[in-house]
Symmetry: C2
Subunit: 348 residues, 2 copies
DNA sequence: TTGAAAGCGCTAACAA
DNA sequence: TTGTTAGCGCTTTCAA
């Protein structure tokens, strides 16, 4: 059973492909096609089970109704939720998602961007980028591929982006610890350390200390590598909890770090929050179930997806309107969403 | 900066499109193109940053290097892990994934299948199906769209599939409880109840009881609805733990059920495992962190993806070889992977 | 060793 | 109100 084409439908009806195409694209009235003919077309389309070939359509119109999404790791619940929220928002507009994981590997991400944008020519691209160098995005801008940065942005702030207030979130988290009377707070971040999310969170940490006139000790800012997370974290937790620092709290810069830190702390036979408090960015469902439940910063994931789609569609439409020059400024295409402190029992 | 086409490259070199195409597809030697010419082509391709347009290629060859994946919900960590494992296996062969969530909605799933297979014409399709009626898959078989069922299959067993041994897993879980001396075990499954995974797990539960000569009480088999999970589970947990049944253990048929059951039990102020034991299918990372950690059946997710891809590629290749009639039998295209019991502290 | 030309299935400008 | 035709960018037969 071969799939039927526009031509098959047209032949079966004894009309032209044009006619069928016009009806299918809802342009029957626009072209003044008689109601009767239109109905005949619809009936035959139904009968033959005809579905327009998206590939051919794309080749002709340049539109595929496919968008690309690149995240660090789709199996990380944080990105899985983001992906779902983006998927839902896209579906509402008739789009589907090509989803790829970069594993925080810049080379891989650059390849993926090129594959999605240049080869598959997605209609739009959403990237939670791990790149340090904005060159790939300059290229996308030049070749007018609509794209936006999700969750992470570049220092320049020149590209359209939807992010959350990482600085503020970190500040809230640290302030919460200070309010609880803990002020010797170790921080564990991870490489690649150029990520805006991580930098902003560190800034938030510093801001909170400064506001409370607490001395910043650089030795308490630890960095672990993404490739060697587990071992590194065990080491750093050990370092922070031992003399001379003996921190009373650990601020994990993302959910993965928090999880491994939690294990490391338990492994040392220490109690949370009695012996050490633990807070994390990236609230994930898991944190409600740990012992004790972990205080974390929750991000409005559904809104991230919705805003991202709205903005991307704006960019996709703008693309056609030639007059508008957008490339040197984000033209208001920059959204920062507020975050929420989820207080649980990991800080006493 | 417009993207360059084959023609642009050809013109720049003063050769034909054919030549460039042949070189690009690694057929230079096959067609006896001179080394010198080949090199000139590669150089120009590099210089102009030319990337072949996958859409045009697809239209011509019928191959897009895109595969479809439909799961219930990509934000469910279980499916997120599966998706990642499938993505990795696909990438190794140069393929990328269009990923969609069906929300256990049969209508939605049928639509998605049609969109991916008929409109986008993916080269292959992997479905963790929520459908009761195999009709959609009969259609795919007829129109020779390579596909396979992942995680869930149909009673007929006629379609290619990669699943895990759900029956055995459930039996192991129940046997584990029995070994611990708990034999009054309530089971919570969920609708849609026709899913092979759920049915097989229930069979496993029954088999374990039978082998141990324990009477099966149908009243202990509870079903909650996917749409109203939380409330239903609270109700059923309540029912099972109260007189007259007063079960000593609850077997959650999947990870979502387990999570809500855990909350419900905690909410009632009961202790696990002292007051009631809890076990679950679908091991997720979260279960290691709950209090207490939950004993569960772990599935070989990476292997699921690998086997799925291997089988799908087999089907995709077979498709071309006309002689082979495969449609009435799975021709060995049916893999059932073993599962593992992860004993933790939720059973005493 | 290379090129010309057809055609994948669709849309849209133009013609009738 | 409907049809003819060109062409999106590529691969592939056939010819040279």
């Amino acid at each position: 059973m071969k799939k039927s084409s526009l031509e098959d439908v047209a032949k079966a009806l004894g009309v032209s492909k044009t006619l069928v195409s016009m009806v299918l694209n809802g342009k029957a009235t626009q072209y003044g096609i008689s109601k009767k003919t239109e109905e005949r077309v619809w009936k035959m389309v139904e009968e033959m089970g005809f579905k327009p070939n998206a590939t051919a359509r794309k080749l002709r119109t340049g539109k595929s109704n496919v968008l690309g999404l690149i995240v660090a790791d789709i199996s990380n619940p944080f990105y899985a939720k983001i992906a779902r929220s983006v998927e839902d928002a896209a579906n509402k507009k008739g789009y589907h998602m090509l989803i790829c994981s970069s594993d925080e590997n810049p080379k891989r991400e650059a390849d993926l961007i090129s594959i999605l944008a240049d080869q598959h020519q997605v209609d739009g691209l959403i990237v939670s980028s791990t790149l340090d160098d904005p060159q790939m995005f300059d290229k996308l801008t030049l070749q007018k591929t609509p794209f936006l940065l999700l969750d992470r942005e570049f220092a320049s702030g020149l590209f359209p982006s939807v992010t959350v207030d990482n600085r503020k979130g970190a500040e809230m988290l640290v302030q919460h610890l200070l309010d609880k009377g803990v002020n010797n707070i170790g921080l564990i971040t991870l490489s690649p350390s150029h990520l805006s999310t991580l930098k902003d969170r560190i800034t938030g940490y510093k801001d909170a200390l400064k506001k409370n006139k607490i001395e910043l000790k650089d030795a308490l800012l630890r960095e672990v590598s993404f490739e060697n997370l587990r071992e590194d974290i065990i080491k750093e937790v050990d370092f922070l909890l031992s003399a001379p620092h003996k921190v009373r709290a650990i601020f994990a810069l993302n959910n993965l770090v928090a999880l491994y830190a939690l294990e490391a702390i338990h492994h040392k036979g220490l109690k949370i929050p009695q012996d050490v408090a633990l807070v994390s960015f990236d609230d994930i469902e898991l944190f409600r179930f740990t012992s004790p439940p972990i205080t974390a910063i929750s991000q409005p994931l559904e809104q991230l997806g919705e805003h991202a789609m709205e903005m991307l569609f704006g960019l996709m439409n703008n693309k056609d309107k030639e007059g508008v020059e957008n490339g040197t400024s984000t033209n208001g295409h920059r959204v920062v969403l507020p975050v929420e402190l989820m207080v649980r029992n990991s800080c006493g």
